[in-house]
Symmetry: C2
Subunit: 222 residues, 2 copies
DNA sequence: ACCTGAACACCGTTCAAGT
DNA sequence: ACCTGAACACCGTTCAAGT
């Protein structure tokens, strides 16, 4: 039989690409050696030529994500503004990848972009007056904070349709709203706020401010 | 044949207990329906009498963890001190459970202790002057921060022997230390700080301070 | 109420073999 | 260099059946 579509040969890049799409569309659990093989119409074992183990694939995903982060130009601004710019860049790069963002954390020290990001962050924090030890911990926690921010932004259930998400949120909201208002007055009152989030930008902004305020607060004590 | 050991009947509690031990000893991936069945010398399907699905088991783990958190007595102290006391309590409860701590986050609104914790936190944050919406987000992020703090405390690789951990850290440290000192001066200088952590208490303390400084900083702007 | 047995549709991974 | 085939040791889960 004649095949009109010539099969593109497998490569790390093309597999990582597909895995990334798959993860965001159906959740990270859908990213499976066998499933990917099927997507490329190939034997599962074919992937083992390009990746030593599944972990190797996941590392590839993490690195690819980090490459999405466009580091801002170096500029001689106050350290607070520089830190903010760095964190905004991280957020922008990871924002559309809630399912895979955690994979990025593991690769921070394992690829150029991650190292560049870390170097820049450590530099800014040194400028703020932190010791190298403090800067190292803050840099680490700042990145993790952004990832959590992205990962459980309200309104992102990874492998679910929009109406599923809506339904799920509604269910949770009524569950909270129907608790005893004597025992849990604040929870009941905040039922909506705890489950939904009308303005995503505001949510991310507030998360950033909380983090930056923490760093500034500690810096002021130095 | 005579059996001297009478088999204790299965129950949710006893299974959750064993699963918790198993997770911390060999990693969460060792917590498997089939493995647990084996531990209790029982058919895998026996567990399905007590748990509807594996998710149900994991929810049980999360709830059990939350019960480990001893909420401090209510006291009329300044809100900052109250918040600190709450976060310290959470940290104390989860500290020995790095492998399973993330499961607690999912159950926060799903059990009494979690709701109590949330209610108390929202109350304290209201006292600090935050709107219900702001309080809801801060409460959520504060808990998540503690969990991350516990989960990737340096020196806790879940399913690994002490010497494995040591070896792993050493490898990472030399990898960082041998980077180009022209391109990555700060990373190279902080190689030790980025991989190890000599004082665990100091690590947790610093994480708490960063978080509290953030909340205080935002509160001051209100 | 509580557990067993057999079966189904999945996993990651190794090892030898093909082209 | 790049991929296939068969096999192994795992998963979660359903369904019918036993006591």
């Amino acid at each position: 039989v004649l095949s009109t579509t010539t099969k593109t040969p497998l490569s790390r890049d093309v597999v990582v690409d597909r895995a990334l799409q798959l993860a965001e569309a159906e959740g990270l659990s859908a990213v499976t050696i066998r499933r990917l093989a099927q997507e490329f119409d190939v034997t599962p074992m074919a992937l083992y030529w390009h990746f030593r183990k599944k972990d190797d694939l996941l590392a590839g995903l993490g690195q690819r994500l980090l490459e999405r982060i466009e580091l801002p130009e170096e500029a001689s601004r106050p350290w607070g503004q520089q830190l903010r710019a760095l964190l905004i860049a991280v957020l922008a790069g990871l924002r559309d990848h809630p399912a895979t963002a955690p994979l990025a954390a593991a690769q921070i020290m394992g690829c150029e972009r991650g190292l560049d990001l870390t170097e820049r962050t450590l530099e800014v924090l040194a400028e703020a007056g932190f010791t190298p030890d403090e800067a190292a911990q803050i840099a680490h926690r700042a990145l993790q904070s952004i990832i959590i921010l992205v990962t459980d932004a309200p309104g992102v259930e990874v492998g679910a349709s929009p109406q599923d998400i809506d339904q799920h949120q509604r269910t949770k909201r009524v569950a909270l709203a129907s608790l005893s208002p004597e025992r849990y007055p604040r929870v009941v009152a905040a039922a909506a706020a705890l489950t939904t989030c009308e303005d995503e930008d505001a949510y991310f902004n507030f998360g950033l401010e909380l983090l930056l305020a923490g760093v500034s607060g500690l810096a002021a004590q130095r």
